[in-house]
């Protein structure tokens, strides 16, 4: 993942390793609502048990700026902002192809 995706796209601070997040001097603490409805900070460690089993399908720690680089790569048909091709346009197109019907939902009703 580091070699093929994160490094070529320039996602330098993105990581699957919580130790690297803790070592960073700028990270967001997770928050969740308590039973009274107030958002409360949680220990960073509280996330690990949730994330560890799903890596690398999920559980990437990233930043909005670096996720924007990821989206830019998608929009450019697989070419990272640096100009490096990360994936062929053909293979990338397959990921967005409609596989199976997921749910019939009206997300926005008007």
């Amino acid at each position: 993942m580091q070699e093929r995706i994160l490094s070529p796209i320039g996602m330098k601070r993105s990581t699957f390793d919580p130790a690297r997040v803790r070592a960073d001097d700028d990270y967001a603490l997770p928050h969740a609502a308590d039973l009274s409805g107030d958002l409360r900070p949680m220990a960073l460690e509280a996330e690990h048990d949730v994330l560890a089993p799903v890596r690398p399908a999920g559980g990437l720690w990233s930043t909005t700026r670096e996720m924007a680089r990821f989206v830019q790569t998608e929009l450019a048909g697989g070419i990272a902002p640096s100009g490096t091709r990360v994936v062929s346009a053909e293979n990338l197109a397959v990921t967005g192809r409609r596989g199976w019907r997921f749910l019939i939902s009206t997300v926005v009703r008007r």
């Binding site: 609502a33 039973l35 958002l39 949680m42 996720m67 924007a68 997300v107």
Partner: protein
Amino acid sequence: MAASMSHYGLGWLSGEYRGLRVISHAGGTAGFTALVAFLPDADLGIAVLSNASALPDALAFTLAVHFRLLELLFDQPAGMDAQLSALVEARAAARPRLAYVDPVAVASYLGRYTHPTFGEMTISLRDNRLVLDAGKLASELRRRAVDGPSASAYLLHDPPLSFYSEAYGATVSFTGGIGEPRVTLTIPRNPAGPEQTYVFEPG
């Protein structure tokens, strides 16, 4: 239909917003939510990250930001704010009314307990609030106001443990009194099967 997420491909949800193709994936953990979406035909990409999640609509805020951006970008009438407000109000109305546990009523249950699977935990009073502390995870315990002061089943109030009370109705109850105190964790709406109970013994 103004927007949909109707199909799934290789990791991506595929749908449309007012006729434009939208490819996206949103998700979350105990305390974060994330969303990535792109509209290839509009040359538009969106990444939304937040350091909060809130049941029962953990992704509501992230999705609302996403759709509000689309509304702004495509000069559409604002519909998302009202929907989000309605969700927040419905959630507040559904929240159980809680009360603090009477310290005197639980005096004989304070101390250390163990469970063969969960290991050690302590039940203690901190500033007159009843607290369950399992080391890595801790939560204040509160009673439902409707149960009255003699309630013996308490809810896990603080995240991330509060998730189990909110989603699965988990309670912590004290039985046996001074002679043989027991602390029981009950998960009535266990998503994986029948009700689960875990009995912690002193030690």
